[in-house]
């Protein structure tokens, strides 16, 4: 299938802050594509540009074949948007919020009613359709917004931090809904997140974005493979002796010594464990514990940016950028 989104050298500068720095990539039709990065990395700014809410400083992008600057209304018809902060009218009912949206997007009257009910069923809110939104919980609101974003049958659905501030149970539910929508409605989904597990569980492909630049873009599995395989942690009292032995073997890529354990980076760790245990046994080294860990996206992020996503969040520079971004909204 073809590309539904094409981005070329897209750049956005706010006064002195370079929020998005010359990024280029494309998203395939039908994908769930994730933007992973800390707050202030440029995720929301990129999304806002694609949604025609912000004009790029430089560069080009197209959504569903329409230029984001020259064919705004076509782009707007092609996309559904769920913002980070709620955008519902609390004084209206769930149905009325949907109806308002349908009218603004010119969904014909006879279809409108049917589609609203169908979508509300999909996100399990059909029984609450005549309740005022101000009585809804955070998770219900998010689900309503997702349903609303799909009412005009967009080709692409943008989700900006879809589960920010929700409890784990609700997050799981929203993830399930996102997957179903992607399959049933065949809608391409682009989401931003700073949760590793969210990107890992949901996305077909992930772009890691840091300081306005895309530092890596690939499937979750490939991103993890790139950092040099799995991690084997061995607990032993004779770690130096073991280290000296294993150093001679090529399949052990790198080592790290800890108080009572040794971690080794190994590609396809499952196939090498037996060999390592045999070597230890032959040299009369007792192994107390042994664990194989697949690298997480946290490790991936660390590998590509040289810092963990939490450290990154705390730097004053990023906080500043975050504030700037908030002010713009």
């Amino acid at each position: 299938m073809g590309n539904i989104i094409e981005i070329k050298n897209l750049t956005k500068r706010f006064d002195k802050v370079l929020a998005v720095d010359n990024i280029s990539f494309s998203v395939k039709q039908g994908e769930i594509f994730g933007f992973l990065g800390p707050n202030g990395a440029g995720k929301t700014t990129t999304l806002s540009m694609l949604a025609t809410l912000l004009s790029p400083t430089k560069g080009k992008a197209s959504v569903n074949g329409f230029d984001i600057e020259k064919q705004r209304d076509n782009v707007r018809h092609s996309i559904g948007m769920v913002f980070q902060d709620p955008t519902l009218d609390e004084e209206l009912t769930a149905y009325e919020n949907m109806d308002f949206h349908g009218r603004l997007y010119n969904v014909p009257k006879n279809e409108r009613k049917k589609k609203i009910i169908e979508l509300l069923q999909l996100v399990e809110l059909d029984k609450k359709k005549n309740d005022l939104v101000k009585t809804f919980s955070g998770g219900m609101r998010r689900r309503l917004e997702i349903a609303r974003g799909l009412l005009h049958e967009p080709k692409v659905l943008f989700l900006d931090e879809p589960t920010l501030g929700l409890d784990p149970q609700t997050r799981n539910k929203i993830w399930a809904h996102i997957k179903v929508l992607n399959k049933e409605k065949n809608v391409t989904i682009i989401l931003t997140t700073h949760y590793m597990d969210e990107a890992d569980k949901l996305c077909d492909r992930i772009a890691i974005i840091d300081n306005g630049k895309i530092v890596a873009i690939n499937t979750s599995a490939n991103l993890k493979n790139k950092i040099g395989g799995d991690i084997i942690t061995i607990g032993t009292n004779e770690r130096e002796k073991l280290l000296n032995i294993l150093k001679k073997y090529k399949f052990c890529k790198s080592f790290k010594e800890h108080n009572s354990s040794l971690t080794i980076n190994v590609e396809h760790a499952e196939t090498r464990v037996a060999e390592i245990v045999k070597l230890a046994d032959r040299n009369k080294i007792t192994i107390h514990t042994l664990a194989i860990n697949k690298p997480t996206l946290e490790d991936v992020f660390l590998y590509y940016t040289g810092k963990t996503i939490r450290e990154e969040e705390a730097t004053p520079e990023d906080n500043f950028k975050f504030r700037v971004r908030r002010m713009r909204r």
Binding site: A51, L53, T87, L88, D89, H101, R103, L104, R329
Partner: protein, 250 residues
Amino acid sequence: MTGAIYTLWLRSIKRFIRSKSRIIGSLAQPLFFLIILGFGLNSVMSLPGTGSYVKFMVPGIVSMTVMFSSIFSGIQIIWDKQFGFLKETLIAPVSRTSIMFGQTIGGATTALIQGTLTLILAMFVAGLTSFSLYGFLIAFVFMILIGLSFTALGIAIASKMEDMHGFQLIMNFLMFPLFFLSGALFPLSNAPIILKTIAHFNPLSYGVEGVRYGLLGTSEINPLLSFIVLVGFTVFIVILGGYFFKKVNA
């Protein structure tokens, strides 16, 4: 375009009907003004024309209701901004102009409903029983113009404001002066020259005078002049409001 305007209008009406306490609250204030000020000052005021001060006040109180509730409706956009709903409308494939028109017409409609309710109650309270359908229509036309122009003014102000902190300022430095210096509470002909001059720069004066001509048959400003000035002001402020609203950041 018309679809979007209607959609925004419909939302205003739905929200309005739902907020019963707001409707009652907004009726109470003008009635208090009318009953307390009107009857309190009735005996000491001698007026040319109608003679009764309470009757004289009715058009002023009605105009006040329409103006206050219009500005409130326009300023509602700030709440939409804060609650995020504005983004939902701004990202839709409709022009900003039609969104602004929809808001303006919606706000003016709800203001007109409140003005009409106040009018009915006020006529009853003031014992204003003689009137013509023709006069009523004239009053209505002026009420519509007050509604449209001041909703647009509210939108223009709200487009420039980030949050509701400035609202007290607007209330005290815009809405009350406009009301007090409009000939709503006292006849302009006997007023000191400075007040009179200010009142002639106040668009609400022409609204009040127009409504007064419709309801009481007398006015100090020629109703045709009032009409022309108010139409001019409405057109100007709708364009200005539309211009400011276009620049609002989502």
